[in-house]
């Protein structure tokens, strides 16, 4: 069974979580059409190390996890606040 180290709840079965997609910047509301389409639909679909939003469903808790999509290894997790404080402008 795959274990996700949750920053709030500790190591838990990954079936308790859902993946919220890669961390990316929300474009400003007055951005052009192409930028918005890019944000809404297009994916990096990274083959390699990726940082994603994850959600622990029973406790309604969002956080950020770093994992390798080539090996299915979870490398690191951050509480959302810590992640944004560390990478806020250059994530």
């Amino acid at each position: 069974m795959k274990i996700m180290p949750c920053p709030l709840n500790g190591p838990r079965n990954i079936s308790e979580f859902s993946c919220g997609g890669e961390v990316e910047h929300l474009p400003p509301p007055d951005c052009d059409h192409a930028t918005w389409i890019d944000y809404v639909y297009l994916e990096n679909n990274t083959r390699g190390i990726v940082r994603e939003w994850w959600y622990h469903t029973p406790t309604a808790y969002w956080f950020v996890a770093e994992r390798d999509t080539r090996t299915d290894e979870i490398l690191r997790t951050w509480p959302a606040g810590e992640f944004l404080a560390e990478f806020g402008e250059r994530r």
Partner: protein, 418 residues
């Protein structure tokens, strides 16, 4: 008594037919280069040769023929989709499938079984009725059958009320079929190779030569591979789970997520299940192959990885649901398990046609519904590569549709939830 067969049986030397003759070195240039030697790529090469007489074609495959998703799906063929675009497209595919064994002179074991999509809720019944009406409008055999009638048609299922999802009815699609999936790839590949197409296995594409970016993404002129660079008139990428990676080499992004889809087969059993049974609520589909194995699949993995590993929790979930439908298989052993990398689109419809790069075409977004579309994709891709024009059947699946917010919502017809 065919004496040739008797003679062959008595000889000691049985030569192995060379289905994919090694074409030798890559040529400097091909009119058309197809990236990806799966069913779709090989079918495209086949119809280029057969329909259009174009044989200066190279198919580049990183692995070996039949080693990718063509040999990893659960081999179900149907056309009972939800949108008019999808219904017309997949119905043409079924029409082509029926003739393939004759076309190839090779038995693809095409077997019409009848396809039942179970409904366990009122809202599912409503969607089935909707699909049946759309299907019938386009002349496709598809109808809603309610529980009493269904019980007579598929008596093997558990119809009790004291289960989590009692069966209320089903969408019945008589032409639903299964076929031997690797034979489809071999038939197309062998037919293309016999007509002069070069199929290069163990040849990985590492980049593209793209010239002139006149306010546009440019025009493709060549393909870089692990065995050298070839010039190309037109290029088609048909690489399923690796679509994002290959498109990135050509310089554009796609609305795709690569997610594994797992499947498994049981030990062989005596024939007992003629129908193909699917349940969206239970996330299962099952059919019995001609050698008696139950071929079983379910939903895609809950998150994306570029791996074809199998997981225990997926199988536990699938089997719990399988036993709700067929409680008597609880002692049956699993024989094999595998996974394929699917390229999922947000609207569950494929991406076909032109790309931001001139002369560079795409066949992607085949998620969990690619095998059944193999013949029609080959036919339409071949026409597009031969003439440069995108046919009416695949026009709705253009990559541009995301830019225009003109999606083709097929999630309601995906066999199971995702």
């Amino acid at each position: 008594m065919p004496f040739a067969l008797l003679k062959y049986g008595l000889t000691r030397r049985h030569s192995v037919p060379d289905v994919f003759p090694e074409p030798g070195e890559l040529k400097d240039s091909y009119d058309i280069v197809i990236v990806g030697g799966g069913g779709h790529g090989l079918a495209t090469a086949y119809y280029l040769a057969v329909d259009h007489g174009i044989t200066d074609v190279a198919v580049l495959e990183r692995g070996y023929i039949g080693g990718g998703n063509t040999g990893r799906n659960t081999a179900i063929i149907r056309s009972n989709y939800l949108t008019p675009e999808g219904v017309k497209f997949y119905d043409e595919s079924i029409r082509l499938y029926k003739d393939l064994s004759n076309d190839f002179d090779m038995n693809i074991l095409y077997s019409e079984r009848g396809h039942y999509t179970l409904a366990h809720t009122d809202s599912a019944i409503r969607t089935m009725r909707w699909r049946a009406e759309v299907n019938k409008h386009f002349g496709i055999e598809s109808e809603l059958v309610m529980r009493g009638e269904l019980q007579k048609m598929v008596p093997q299922l558990d119809y009790s009320e004291d289960v989590r999802y009692p069966i209320l009815g089903a969408l019945y699609h008589a032409p639903g079929a299964i076929a031997r999936h690797d034979a489809v790839a071999w038939g197309y590949g062998a037919g293309a190779a016999r007509r002069g197409v070069h199929i290069h296995q163990n040849t990985e594409v590492t980049g593209f030569e793209i010239t002139g970016a006149n306010g546009h993404a440019g025009r493709v002129t060549g393909v870089k591979t692990s065995r050298g660079t070839v010039r190309a008139g037109r290029v088609l990428q048909a690489v399923a789970g690796m679509s994002g990676e290959v498109a990135a080499m050509a310089g554009f992004r796609l609305p795709l997520k690569t997610v594994p889809l797992q499947a498994c087969v049981s030990q062989p059993l005596k024939p007992f299940l003629d129908a193909i049974v699917v349940s969206g609520s239970l996330h299962v589909y099952v059919s019995q192959s001609s050698r008696g194995e139950l071929v079983m699949g379910g939903s895609t993995d809950p998150y994306g990885v570029y791996m074809t590993r199998s997981t225990l929790d997926w199988k536990e979930g699938l089997m719990a649901h399988m036993l709700e439908l067929l409680p008597f298989i609880s002692e049956v052993k699993l024989l094999r398990q595998w996974a394929g990398m699917t390229d999922m689109t947000p609207d569950f419809a494929p991406i076909m046609g032109e790309t931001p790069v001139d002369n560079y075409y795409i066949d992607a977004g085949w998620g969990t519904w690619g095998f059944k579309a193999t013949p029609v994709c080959g036919k339409e891709n071949a026409r597009m590569l031969a003439t440069g024009e995108v046919g009416d059947l695949i026009q709705p699946f253009a990559l541009q549709r995301y830019h225009d917010f003109d999606l083709v919502g097929e999630k309601g017809a995906a066999s199971v939830g995702h």
